[in-house]
């Protein structure tokens, strides 16, 4: 599978086997960072979905223990969801220790996933009729853990109902009536449920409901959009507020108060890229401050200290992403730039195509070719300790040159003092079952959000092929331990 490094040469059977295992696992974990079942710029959604499903099946059957442990490696939500689904579908393993570890990992991961993903997963389990004892227990535990079951029942009504029915959960009397007895018109004692009942008939009651539910009811009661947005504002989540910034701006009379620094740095980058260039230019100071603030907040949460860092960032036409992932590759590059700028003592960014006017980075737009060789040369000349390349790996001006530059520089000029070069790829390449690589010299890791950069920097050393399988297993075990511990506190 995938990129096997050349020259199996005179390795023993055992060594070959170990290498094979290591590469399979690396490929899997690496694609777990970037793969989604969505359209990409270069491929439609069908090829990645076939590719990623095959990869999951392959790893589940061959390396079950490590498959479960991948949940702790920091892979993206989509793949976490996929792993849990596959583990539950495959049934519990016979070994008691492994079973217990898997169970804990699943439980912790579920608690960390966004609720909408979890309920979607439960609904999917029902659709596929995965109903073993373990699955039911997992669903029951999760539902019991949720703090406000009524809120969930309203916000994710169909999915909650599916999960509850599927796991034969014993629900509270009123909640059960709410979910399963539609015709009953009796008032509820639980305030939120009663609110929902009232909201069907009265406009005044909708403003205590979750935003997504209230939105459709507002349509029903024909509430003007600006009035609705103004009154519902206190119920909107941070993500919703960010998402509705531009919609609100289009609605006359509505304005959503939102502190931009509260958004994660990647989310912020995607929001800023969605603004028109003119608006970005008008709000230059505000946006610059927002980016710095967001990066600072993120670094307070996950500290990262780096020395002299250079980045080579791709803003070519392909970073426009797809309709589902609009501007995602560019957004990740932009966020990475601001995050690393804050984390590093000295920092320089080299964009391709070059940012000639030296304007603010968030004014970039996806256009032009991908020429990575010259920016890498510029970066090398500046002599940093670390060079991070954020690109989708489709180097085309000219193809496969950046790898040669890195190799020749290491061999002839830098020798032992060559800075570490890491390629971070926000896009999954279905044909190679992994994020597309720039070549054999530069290690490539998948990248979900810029927030994951610290994890990825730690993981990058495995992808060069120097670390052994044992080290990789230890790394995973360490992450599992850390995850289990952090959950207790």
């Amino acid at each position: 599978m995938g990129h096997r490094d050349s020259s199996p040469g005179n390795l023993s059977r055992q060594e070959l086997r170990e290498r094979c295992e290591r590469e399979d696992l690396l490929m899997f974990i690496n694609s777990g960072f970037a793969a989604t079942r969505q359209n990409e710029f270069y491929t439609d959604l069908y090829r990645p979905s076939v590719s990623i499903e095959f990869l999951h099946r392959y790893v589940l059957i061959n390396y079950r223990l490590l498959y479960a442990r991948t949940l702790a490696a920091g892979i993206n939500h989509f793949n976490q969801q996929q792993i849990i689904f596959n583990l539950l579908q495959a049934g519990a393993p016979a070994d008691k220790v492994q079973r217990a570890e898997e169970g804990t990992l699943i439980a912790i991961t579920l608690r960390r996933l966004p609720a909408n993903r979890v309920y979607a997963l439960f609904a999917r389990l029902q659709q596929h009729r995965v109903n073993n004892r373990r699955t039911r227990a997992v669903i029951k535990t999760y539902l019991a853990w949720r703090r406000e079951p009524e809120f969930d029942a309203i916000k994710y009504r169909n999915k909650y109902r599916a999960a509850a029915a599927h796991a034969h959960t014993r629900l509270e009397e009123e909640l059960g009536r709410f979910l399963f007895d539609h015709t009953n018109q009796k008032a509820y004692q639980t305030p939120l449920l009663n609110q929902f009942r009232q909201a069907q008939y009265s406009e005044a009651a909708i403003y205590e409901l979750p935003f997504t539910v209230a939105e459709s009811l507002a349509q029903k009661h024909q509430v003007p959009r600006d009035v609705f947005l103004k009154k519902i504002e206190h119920k909107m989540t941070t993500a919703e507020k960010l998402r509705f910034q531009s919609t609100a701006a289009r609605t006359k009379g509505a304005k959503l108060e939102f502190d931009l620094t509260r958004a994660g740095v990647t989310k912020l980058a995607l929001y800023v890229l969605s603004l028109s260039r003119k608006e970005r230019e008008q709000r230059v100071d505000e946006l610059e401050a927002a980016f710095t603030g967001a990066a600072e907040r993120q670094l307070r949460r996950v500290p990262l200290k780096l020395g002299r860092v250079a980045t080579v960032l791709d803003s070519s036409h392909s970073t426009v992403g797809s309709r589902e992932r609009r501007n995602r590759p560019l957004g990740v590059a932009l966020a990475a730039s601001y995050l690393l700028r804050e984390a590093a003592e000295e920092y320089r960014a080299f964009w391709t195509p070059a940012n000639e006017q030296e304007e603010h980075e968030f004014l970039t737009r996806p256009a032009g070719q991908t020429a990575l060789a010259e920016p890498l040369l510029d970066a090398l000349e500046w002599q940093p300790d670390l060079i991070v390349i954020v690109s989708d790996g489709y180097e085309n001006d000219p193809p496969q040159l950046v790898d040669q530059v890195a190799r020749v520089y290491r061999e002839r000029i830098g020798k032992t003092e060559t800075p570490e070069i890491v390629h971070m790829n926000p896009v999954f390449d279905a044909d190679h079952f992994a994020p597309r690589r720039l070549g054999t010299t530069i290690p490539t890791v998948g990248l979900r959000d810029a927030e994951d950069i610290p994890t990825m920097l730690g993981f990058a050393r495995f992808t060069v092929g120097t670390a052994s399988l044992k080290e990789l297993e230890e790394y995973l075990a360490l992450r599992v331990n850390r995850m289990l511990k952090s959950d207790e506190t």
Partner: protein
């Protein structure tokens, strides 16, 4: 401003990319696109597209002749005489009434729509010309010896003597039928100063398209999909596989410092450029036969044909060149083998004064073989029926 009515044609003996550069290609499947970059953009000539929605268009060439084709769009060229920058037609704000009228008359026939235009090339203003891209060249190709035999040899049918080659037709394939072209155009990353593309299908040059200004190219990039291609390229597209080119890698031995490395990178770029020039040597740098089409002040619209050698790649095309010989606009069409054969036979016939015997001698074949060749090429209608039958019966005995 007055300018001379008869000016000397700017010589065009071969297509040269003077002032233009070829950048490394981008490949998707069997389709390869080579960006053409222009360093200095004078911006005194701009091209815009005027889309036509009709199923077919008819253009009157003279009283007796008309040109029928599916024409997806016309190009409008705007220029200035003094070299000052000009605004492209589509972005101009104009309130004059005449510009709102459509180009020619549009007829809705129920089962299809048709547009009838009076001219292949219409001067719409002192510094504006509307022309039909690719049809300029195809018209030239179709009208090749269109008049028919000059000498009334007895073998030629009455129709051939009276009407010449009429009706003369050729079949082309629209770009969207070429497998992978649509995706390749979609994912292609247009360079900042790119003014054109060389399009390869199965690594055979299908078309060259160059415009005067990068902004024009960005707007016209997708028109490569609505263009016409020879049917050969359709088959190439079906069977082509993704092919990687490997120019010489960076030579580690020559690198001592960062500057050496930079020089090597530049060298690799030049290699790519040379490689692409080599791949398109049947069009670029190849001797061509030019024909003056329209004089547009400081520019000239010309069409050309490479030497129609049936054993090699042949292209026809049109160019707009500046008076100093700089290429401003180029669009070429690769003839398929059959089209090339037809043109070749016609030219050979014309050269030997339409005499079958002389021509057969020149082509080193028998008279009957020539007759079969003509018939197979689709020119059987030029000859009397009894001539064809006699040739056939002689073959049987």
């Amino acid at each position: 401003m007055k300018h001379k009515t008869t000016r000397k044609q700017v010589p065009l003996d071969h297509i040269s990319l003077k002032g233009l550069m070829l950048a490394p290609s981008q490949v998707l499947g069997g389709v390869r696109l080579v960006p053409v970059l222009r360093n200095e953009v004078p911006a005194d000539l701009r091209l815009t597209r005027r889309p036509f929605d009709e199923d077919i268009a008819a253009v009157l060439i003279d009283n007796k002749t008309a040109y029928y084709s599916y024409i997806p769009h016309a190009f409008v060229a705007d220029w200035t005489f003094d070299g000052a920058p000009v605004v492209a037609y589509g972005t101009q704000i104009r309130a004059e009434k005449s510009h709102r009228t459509t180009d020619g008359k549009v007829h809705d026939l129920g089962f299809m729509t048709a547009r009838v235009m009076q001219k292949m090339r219409a001067r719409e203003d002192r510094n504006r010309l509307r022309f039909l891209p690719l049809d300029v060249s195809l018209e030239g190709f179709l009208s090749l010896h269109f008049g028919g035999p000059d000498v009334i040899w007895e073998e030629y049918s009455r129709a051939a003597i009276k009407d010449g080659l009429s009706p003369r037709s050729e079949r082309t394939i629209p770009g969207h039928l070429i497998k992978g072209l649509e995706d390749a155009l979609r994912v292609f990353e247009i360079h900042t100063n790119q003014v054109g593309s060389l399009l390869f299908v199965g690594d055979a040059l299908a078309s060259a398209f160059i415009v005067p200004h990068p902004d024009d190219y960005r707007a016209l990039h997708t028109t490569l999909l609505t263009d016409d291609y020879g049917e050969l390229l359709y088959y190439y597209g079906l069977y082509a596989e993704e092919n990687r080119l490997h120019p010489h890698e960076i030579d580690a031995k020559r690198v001592q410092s960062l500057d050496d490395l930079r020089a090597e990178v530049a060298r690799v770029r030049t290699d790519w450029s040379e490689l692409h020039a080599l791949m398109s040597h049947n069009l670029l740098g190849c001797p061509v036969r030019p024909e003056m089409v329209y004089d547009m002040g400081p520019f000239q619209l010309q069409r050309f044909m490479t030497e129609l050698n049936p054993k090699a790649e042949n292209h026809i095309g049109e160019v707009i060149i500046r008076n100093n010989g700089t290429l401003e606009y180029l669009k070429s069409y690769r003839l398929s083998a059959a089209q090339c054969r037809r043109a070749f036979l016609l030219m050979q016939l014309a050269e030997s004064n339409w005499s079958l015997d002389t021509c057969a001698e020149q082509l080193k074949c028998t008279r009957n073989q020539l007759i079969f060749r003509l018939e197979n090429a689709g020119f059987g209608y030029l000859l009397h029926q009894h001539v064809l039958e006699k040739a056939r019966s002689e073959l049987r005995t």
